[in-house]
Structures are given as structure tokens and as C-alpha cells.
Amino acid sequence: MQLELTGITKSFDSKEVLKGVDFTFEQGKIYGLLGRNGAGKTTLFNCLSGEIKADKGEASLRREEQKTALDPEKIGYVLATPVLPEFLTGYEFVKFFMDINQKKIRSNRTIDDYLSLIQIEPDDRHRLIKGYSHGMKNKMQMLCCIIAQPPVILLDEPLTSLDIVVALEIKKLLREMKRDHIILFSTHILQLATDLCDEIVLLNNGKLEQVDHSILGDPQFEDKIIQLLKDEEEA
């Protein structure tokens, strides 16, 4: 399975944020999308997930030789600031989400199994989500991806504001899931990208560009990436 982006452009007023994004992402890999603040990472994710409409271009999924348009339901989107219905308890939200996505669920895990999987303690399961911490809400969002198993998972800076324990839990979850999915992980923290991701993709000047594998193991990796980001800016 591959995710193909061709010529995606998006402007706000006169500012062109995405200038023709072309890229092919492969199943089984976690892609670290690196870019400076304001480079357009969130804009790209919003275009893919259907939250905003791209001006031009298309995104499609290719399975063997069959190509289908990437519609929003094939995407799991974990937002930097999690949004969940706060009047439900964690347990109720999972039940509701499972009801709705019944057709997509292949596992026969129960609600409690799922909540154990992301280590939400039994005491917390029946509390209103309104009172959950940022990390717990983030894990709930990840859980949506685990339950519905969408082919493409977009993670917008998900680990940036989490404590180290939760961050580690989520990293483990992602590694376990990656075999069946295409995972795009946006961040501006270099170390996180090298640590977790199989490929590094730079979003710079409105375009995507894969970083050569040989750089990844290089001791001077950091300097080289920064050099790349700077060079392209000057170009």
C-alpha cells in the first residue's frame, strides 16, 4: 500500500504555503515530517484529512495496481491539542466510537481491553473526559486509530507536550502498529524524529523532500539537517 501525493498546493490570501507537494509514502514505515515553525506541516495534514480543501492536486491510496482517492474516513488524525467530547466518560467514548466504526473493527477486544492497552487505569475510565490530563486525552485519540485501523495515520506533534512516560508508551504503540499502516508524524524536534521514524521528510519552501538514508546514522546528522533547511531557504 502506498500513499501518493501529487501537486498539492494551498495558499492563504497571497501566502503560498504548499507549492506543489509530490511524494509517495510506503506502508510499514513511520515518516518523520520535519519542518520549521510555520512551514505548513499542519496545513498539509489538514488538506489530507479533509479539514480544509487543497487548491490543487490530489492524494490517493495505491494497493497493488488499484488506485483509490484518499477519502477522510481512511485517515486517523491525532491532533496536537486533542479534541474529545468532554461530557462523555472515557469508557463511553470508546463504546460510542466502536459502535460507529463497527464495520471496520477486526479485533474482538472489549472496551476495557482497549483502555488497558493504552493504560488508562480502571478508576479513570468512568470519569468525564473533561477532567482528563493532556496525556490521557492524547492516548484516547491514539486509541481511535488503534480501534478503527485506518490505513493512513497522521500525527500532528503528538509527543511534544507529553511527559516522558506517556511519550514512551505512545512510541511503543506506534512501533507496534506501523506494520499495517502508513504513519506520518510531524514534529520540529529532531531527536524525536531520528529516534522513532524510519524515514525523515523535510517540508521546506512548500515542498516535501526525503532525507538521504546515509545521513540518518551520521554523527553530524543534526548539523546536516539544519544545513539542508537553511540551504533551501536561501535557494
Binding site: G50, E86, F87, L88, K95, A148
Partner: protein, 533 residues
Amino acid sequence: MIDTQKNIFRIMTSTNANRFVYYFKRIPLIGKLLPDRLYGDLPLKKNLAVFAAILIFFRKILGKAFFVGLFIVLPAVLMTKDTPQLRFASYLHIFAVVSLFGSFLVSQVFTGDRDEYLCVRLMHMDAKDYIVSTTLFREITDFIYFLPVMLFATVLMGGTPVQAVLLTVLRAGLSLIGEALFLLLYTRAGVMPSGKGSYLVATGTLCLAAAYLPPLLHRPIVPCGLLFHPAFLLPLFALAAVCVFFLVTYRQYHEIALATLKSSSFSEDPGKLMAEAKFADVEVREKDFRDAELKLHKFDSKEGFAYLNAIFFDRHRRLFVRPILIRLAIIAILSAGAIVVSFFSPHPFEPIRPGVILPAFVFILYLVSIGERVCKAMFYNCDISLLRYSFYREKGAVLSNFKVRLFRVAGLNLIVAAAICVATVGLASFFRMGWPVSETVSFVLSILFLSLFFSVHHLFLYYVFQPYTTESGVKNPFYSIISNGVYILCFSCIKIKSPPSYFALIVLAATFLYIVIALILVYRLAPKTFRVK
């Protein structure tokens, strides 16, 4: 200090011009004409700032005129008909009392606003310079804004221009004395009552009572002769001058700035704060639910959207069930009241036909139908987050959710409508008005249809025009037009004194037609329009 005021001016000029550009750009159609680079065009922005300042000047004068007109001139005129002397005395009384209490209500010194946060906290301007110069500047400009308004109002009420000027000076003097007293209170007792809710309510209530009760009883107690007497004015002005000296030489402004400018209240973006304030009335409260209740699996038999909505309506019963109970209680009390009255006077009501009172019931049903608040709660507590998930935006999901909600809201509204029917028909037969069966049936049907109509109306507007935004609510213009249109239509129904015999038929046909069209539009449009904007 002059330098400080100049610096503040510079910052404010920039902010005002930027704000002007920002809001202008949000005007539909013409807003697009201004390009983004305008924010960097300094000479042009200077001109814009002058323009914005002129606008602000007139807006402030208008604001003062509104205040004086609505709270001082109008009550004085309404409470004292035909007696010019009493009217002028009442005017003076209200103005003096409102000015007096007003100066003790809020203090400029203790109001740490966003501008002050910006200048003092972020830009490290000297707190004393800032507070003293803004306070004095505020007093001077207020005087300038009030002067033309007071001249006009006082002469209109029968006073002289000199009296108008004296009144304006009096107001400024009281205001300065108020500031000084706030400072004294802070230094001696360490309290800052300015802007505190309970203090505002207490002082406000006292102010209203002292300002309006005496004129209402035709006994204004502020003696006209004393108010303009030099023996009163001169010491007062001297006191005000002492207060200015005190304000200027006071030393603890740094402490005050620390206490009033808390980062936590300014670091949030104002739009978000506003949104939070806006939905505070529909917010779900965590403390409302005990743990045991949340553990009950009482809705587990339901699935999907039915499950979601069952919990939603259960957790928000404060918003839905309580208003319904209050309405039922009011209907019961009014009906019981009518019956009690009949014990004392045998024929309290003229016999009327159901068709004649029906127009009034159009508006009554508009008032008693819940809907708008329900939609707001749905948006801020549920849809705003779930609409971020693609499954929730799918056509099937939007429509099935709409259906469940419509049944819920309509059910709640129908309870009230049914109670109204029972009460009116019951009272009509109690008072032996002899309503013919056919007219009674069409009356009841009309009431039930109207109730259904309002249930559909609010949900239809919500789903098709989705007027709420995540930030400060910019409402959809079509939403306002239709919403206000229906209100005006319902309100004007009261004015119909002798409705035609086929009025019930019109109501039935119109509501039926609206419901059908609304449902079709929801079916066609909602899957596309029901989004977070």
C-alpha cells in the same frame, strides 16, 4: 509623564490601526480589498490611526450621550410628567447620585487591562508613570466627551450652560476623589474592591435605589440650591485637587500593578476567553456528577448516535429538563390563579373564541420552545470536538444524529405544548366559554404544530447555517436574517386583534410547509454545511 503618555499613544496608535485593518478585512466582499502587506505600510497606518482615533472620539461621545440619555434624562422625563421644575430637580438628583456612586464603583487605577499588561509587564514601562498618566488622561478625555453631552442635556432639561459645565466638573472631581479613596483603602486595609462581583452588585444596587427611588416618589433629595453653591463646590474642588496631588505622589503603584496584572488572565488569547465566556451557560459541570452515576451502565443497551445523544441529554438535563419543569410550573400556577380569581368574582373573563387567542399563542410558543440554547450546548459540548472526526461528518452520521436530536427536542417541546393545550381548553370549559369542537380541535392542532415547527426551526438553522465558531462568534448572516425574521413574524402575530376564521388553517399550512422544506434542506445541505468554522 508626558513622554510616557506619548509612548502609550504610539503603541495604541499601532494597535488601533492594526485592529482596524484586521476587522475591515473580515467584512465580506470589500474586506478582501485590503492586502496583508498593509500591516507593514507604516505611513498609511499613521493615517489610518488618525482616522481610527476620530472614530473612537465620536464613538466615545456617542457612548456618553447614550449613557446620559438612557440612564439620566429618560428616567427623569418618564418619572415626572408635566412639571418642569420637578423634572430638572430629578435630573440633577439622578446625575449627582449616579456620578457619586459611579466613582466608587470601578477604579481606573485598579483596572489592569490588556493594554496595561502590554505596556507595564511586557514592555517594562514604569508602573507609576503608566498608571498616573493613563488615569489623568482618562479623566481629562472623559471630561471632554461629557461636556457637549451635558451641555445639550442640561439645557434640554431646563438648566443653563454654566450649570452644565459645573455638573461636568463635579463629575470629574467625584471621579478623582473616588480614585484617591480606592488608593487609600488599598494602603490602609490592603483591599481592592474595584471590579469584584459582590462589591459591584452591592454598590450598584445601592446606586440604583438611591438614584431612582426618590425621583420615582417625586422627592428628589439632592438640593438644587446647594449643588451649585460655591460653599459646596469650592471645598469639593479643593478636595479633588488634593486627591490629584495624592495620586501623583503616591508610591505603591508597582505593588498594585503586580496584584492586578496576572499573566494568567492575559496570556490566553482573548478570542478563546470570549468563546469560553460565551458557552459558560451551557457548559457541563464535572461536579454535577458523582462517580457512582458515571459508572452506571444505564445506556449500554443503546448504540451509536442514540447512545451518544442519550448520554448527552442526560448529562445536560440542567439545560433541558429544568426549563421544561419551570414552564410546566408556570402554566400550572397561571391556571390555578385564574381559577382562584373566579372564586372572588364570578365572571372574571369575557368569553372568547379559541381562534381569537391563537395569534397570541404563536408568540407564546416561540417564547416557551427550547431550541437555541440546546443547539449552543450541542455545539460547544459535543459537536465542536466530534466534528474533527471524519466519521462524524459523513452524510449518514449527520442525518441520523439530526433525527435523534429532533425527536428529543420535539419531545420536550411537545410536553409543554400539550400542557398549554390542556390548560387553555380546560380553563375554557371551566369558565363555560362553550368552544365548538371543531374550533377547539384546530386550536389544539395548531399549538402542537407550532411546537413542532419551533423544534425543527432551531435545529434546521443550526444544521444548515451552523452559526457558531470556535472563537468570538461571527454569526452567519443568513442565520441572523431567518432567525430574526421568524421572531418578528411571531411577535407581530400579537398585534392581530381580530384574526380571520381561517387563521388556524394558515398556521397549520405554514408550519407544515416550513417543516417539510426545512427537513428537505437539512437532508440536502447539512452533510456539507454542518462543520466547525
